[in-house]
Amino acid sequence: MNKVKYLIPSLFLLTNLFFSGCDNPKLKPPRSDSPSTEEKTGQKGEMIDREFARELAREFGKEFAIEFARQMKGAGSFSLSEINGSVEKNSSGGPSGILNDRGEAHPLLAGCSEDVLEFYQKHPDCFSIASTGDIPANLNWQEGTDEKEFSSPDAQKGGTWEVFMRDFPRTLRTIGPDANGAFRSYLLDYNVMSLTHAHPNSDGYYPGLANSWAVGEDGRTVYFKLDPKARYSDGENVKVSDFFFFFYFMRSKHIQAPWYNDFYGKDKFQKVTLYDENTFSITFYKAKPDIVERVSIRAKPEHFYGELDGEFLSKYQWNPEPTTGAYVALPENVDKGKSITLVRQEDWWADQKRFFRYRFNPEKIKVSVVRDYNKAFEIFLKGGVDMFGLAKTEFWYDKLPDDHLLVKNGYLSKVTFFNQTPPPSYALRINSQKAPFDDLNVRIGFHHAMNFDMVLEKIFRGDFVRMNTVADGYGERSHPTLKARDFSVEKALEFFGKAGFTKRGGDGILINDSGDKLSVELLTGYRHFEDVLVVLKEQAKKAGLELKLKVLEPTSAWKAANEKNHQVVFSAFNSFVELFPRFWEPYHSDNAYQESGDSKYQDDSSLKPGLTTKVSTNNFTQTAVRKIDQLINQYREEEDLGRITDMAHQLSQMIHDHAVWVPAWKKPWLRIGHWNWVKFPDDWGPKESRDYEEFQVFWIDQTEKEKILSAMEKGDPVSDKPTIRIYEKYKSE
């Protein structure tokens, strides 16, 4: 209360600041791209007062704003009604069709709250409502009927799937601070349905929330027809307006997720149009070849959120939104700090839907916290966890060897499944801005001084293969012939020599004429790959290069690299399963320096001196090359897949020549161990599986489980030969 009193004298200051359009972001409306100035004139004062009131409500919550308005009544700037919602509608329906002539919301938006409606109204070019007749007649509707199901009809429902996570999630939100943890996958990525899904075995799509879809004539608008059965776990139907709301949600500052704000921003997702209860369209900014996948968003339950305000984070911290997926997290199944159990909905709407009916089979998913990886492995061997990733060499060969009793007796299976998916980009990223790496020769010499052959042979025992380009795993789009530079002391010495490092010092490290040692710092956050770096370090000595290892906590390492303070960083990004790779984020000069576009370059295409480094971008190599920039710009504008392919090859080659990225390795397979009561389809999984959980095609055979457990008790084998299986159907080389 005192606080409010205290605020009163400052009101005039506040409003003054507001009128003067100050730059304080706290006072600015969250969406600054509000109506044009002409619209504003005439009712300017009123608009701003009203806006300010609403802004207060958004920022500090409704209660505060009402109290504030009550206090302010004397000053006559606000009226209570403005905040409470029964605002007079001061704009007519307009072309967007959101409001009718009487100022009432369109029936399709019946459940919208004031704030949400206002947001739609403010962006008439983004949100519009048309009639059924406006749907183009000549659309070619797709239903994914030609695609094959990738799950097995033998699947049985039931059982509990036991998994572990390393840390308890800090929230059950799927967006906002702390939401991007490992547990989110179970809530969202593996679970919630999108409008359509990219088929993991082909280039086609299969229906999700939408039963059918069609790409418009312009190539960038996709029409969707919702499945009338689509329902959230709280029983509410999925409505077309939820896809309007999706953008209200994703563009809100209250979710505190700038990446999403930007990703779903209006420069990419230009327009959503509703036609009737089931039909709507989304218009993307470009006619990309994979347009359907790009606009296949998920539904946001408007009835659950209503509208967003400053309390969003705390309100939904442990209150998960209703889901369209099979599994629900209920607050009563959360054992804080220990485990979360997800339960399969009894009457899940997609239970019998094609492509979904034989998936999501276990009745429950119990995700327990096990902080230590080795301990988790021991729990796995005891049967407390059903599956365990065995990609690590020592797990596959030493800790669970083929003659391990559990494998020999047929209780456990060891599976190698060859997949085809863009691998995480493990590489040494050289900061080309920092000496001595501002010299191309040093960079090339560095490439030749890295003995990845020995790493692959000795540490990974020949199971991993060398990554060759910056865009491996994109099928046609990957460069077909480009190879990573090999380890060669002679070549390394040759290039170091060209850069002036010609003599060896007393410790065998090269020095140049001015006495500088060829010594660089290698930063990483991957403590578990320390052995790899140790091998590289020892081998680099042969080429007269000293590597100083700096192994930090993942977050500190990430921060250091983000600030572009590193010389070399060993890191990896997860690649999306996409049709073609991304080059802009890691290699465009706009992500290296703050000066934008071509202004960075001098006439001879060299960089101007004194540029300001841009921090917190993915351009860890500080690549800034005019030709690469130009090609990336074209690449991003291009709509034709053939030309995109050519350009991707060219870009891979140019970045290879620029020598800022030492490719490390990739795994062409998934390797897991699982108890034999977990059953898989005949192919084991789809081609694009990135992990064993992603598509949830397995099931738990409970009779088998009892059988194995009782056999284990007696010590009897259930099979006379060890169960080691290799699936090579999708092996590429």
């Binding site: 403590r527 140790v534 906590e553 500190s556």
Partner: protein, 356 residues
């Protein structure tokens, strides 16, 4: 150097007569001296090379390149390979290798199918087996011991310097400076040590050499752990200050510095000495623990904590790592504790104090 008073001499004599502690002390000193000369015993460089009529002693100093001995490369010679080559050529040339012909950083991937974690093998002179990247466990143990012991002694000296300075300051001056000093120490002691180490280690520029990094880790650890000893020093100084001989010194006109250094400290020293071995043990354990957690010495510095971590992670598959590391750790800490016990017994005031 202040002279030991007869009482202290008596105490030292008594320490010598406690056989277990005295022998432990000798063994410990012997081991440390050995580790200081580790390059002569465990090293990938040869002790002596006789090549074309010349003697070479590569152990210390600059490295010899392969070309110096007629090999085709100009990076450092692989002396084991050189030895085999000379043996095969059957000329006059010869190489004398140390007992364990491996360095602490060197990966012995020579053998076909050697992928790390080779069990102890006397033929290949891997007496304690190898670790994940085929580095000799014994070599890493020995050099790790050297670093840990040196570290512990540096830690001891520095913490005691600060503790004695602050403790005698508070104890001798008393009054307000004591009150304020003590509050400061209490506050400082409450700074969470581990977090500070983690934070400071992460901002330390890695461009420094390993020596610098180790020293800065030492300084960070000292900065946050000198407080414990100040209480004891302060109390001892307080106690001694009230004795007649101090009053006598004051009456003669001795200044505070003279009193502290000449009269107080020699009498306080017994407190320090009794704590010293336990401080050493604590320092060894904490550097090992920090390494185990990954916040200690930068890789690939040989360290017991790092070995212990590898050992624990591969308990079933490579038990020799954990066995040799834990044995070494237990052995060392037991010796230190024996020494500590003996010192405490020898310096026990009850034996020598005379009460008026």
């Amino acid at each position: 150097m202040f002279q030991l008073n007869p009482l202290t001499k008596k105490k030292l004599r008594r320490f010598r007569s406690i056989k277990r502690g005295y022998w432990s002390f000798l063994i410990l000193v012997f081991l440390y001296l050995i580790s200081l000369a580790g390059e002569l015993l465990v090293n990938k460089r040869a002790l002596v090379v006789y090549y074309e009529g010349d003697f070479f002693f590569p152990t210390y100093g600059e490295q010899f390149s392969g070309k110096d001995f007629g090999l085709g490369y100009d990076y450092e010679v692989d002396y084991r390979e050189l030895k085999r080559k000379f043996a095969k050529e059957n000329k006059e040339n010869w190489v004398l290798m140390p007992m364990v012909p491996y360095g602490p950083y060197e990966m012995d991937y020579r053998l076909e199918g050697s992928n790390g974690f080779s069990p102890p093998n006397f033929e290949r002179s891997h007496f304690c087996g190898t670790d994940k990247t085929e580095r000799d466990v014994l070599a890493r143990l020995l050099y790790g011991f050297r670093i840990a012991m040196t570290f512990a002694m540096g830690y001891l000296v520095l913490t005691y310097l600060i503790a004695v300075a602050v403790g005698s300051f508070m104890g001798y001056l008393g009054g307000k400076s004591d009150m304020l000093g003590l509050r400061f120490v209490e506050i400082w002691a409450n700074v969470p040590f581990l977090y500070m180490v983690i934070i400071l280690v992460s901002v330390m520029p890695g461009g420094w050499g390993i020596g610098w990094q180790v020293s800065s880790l030492l300084i960070i650890m000292v900065l946050f752990s000198w407080t414990g000893m100040t209480y004891y020093i302060r109390a001892s100084v307080y106690k001694e200050k009230a004795r007649d001989y101090i009053s006598a010194a004051k009456v003669i006109g001795a200044g505070p510095f003279r009193i502290v250094f000449k009269h107080l400290l020699p009498n306080v020293v017994s407190t320090l000495v009794t704590f010293a071995p336990f401080t050493i043990a604590a320092a060894i354990s904490s550097i090992t623990a920090l390494d185990f957690l990954g916040y200690g010495l930068p890789p690939p510095t040989p360290s017991w904590g790092e070995l212990l971590k590898q050992g624990v992670n591969n308990l079933r598959t490579a038990p020799w790592i954990v066995v040799s590391t834990v044995s070494a750790l237990v052995f060392t800490l037991t010796l230190v504790t024996f020494v500590g016990e003996a010192i405490r017994e020898a310096f026990d005031p009850k034996k020598f104090s005379t009460y008026e």
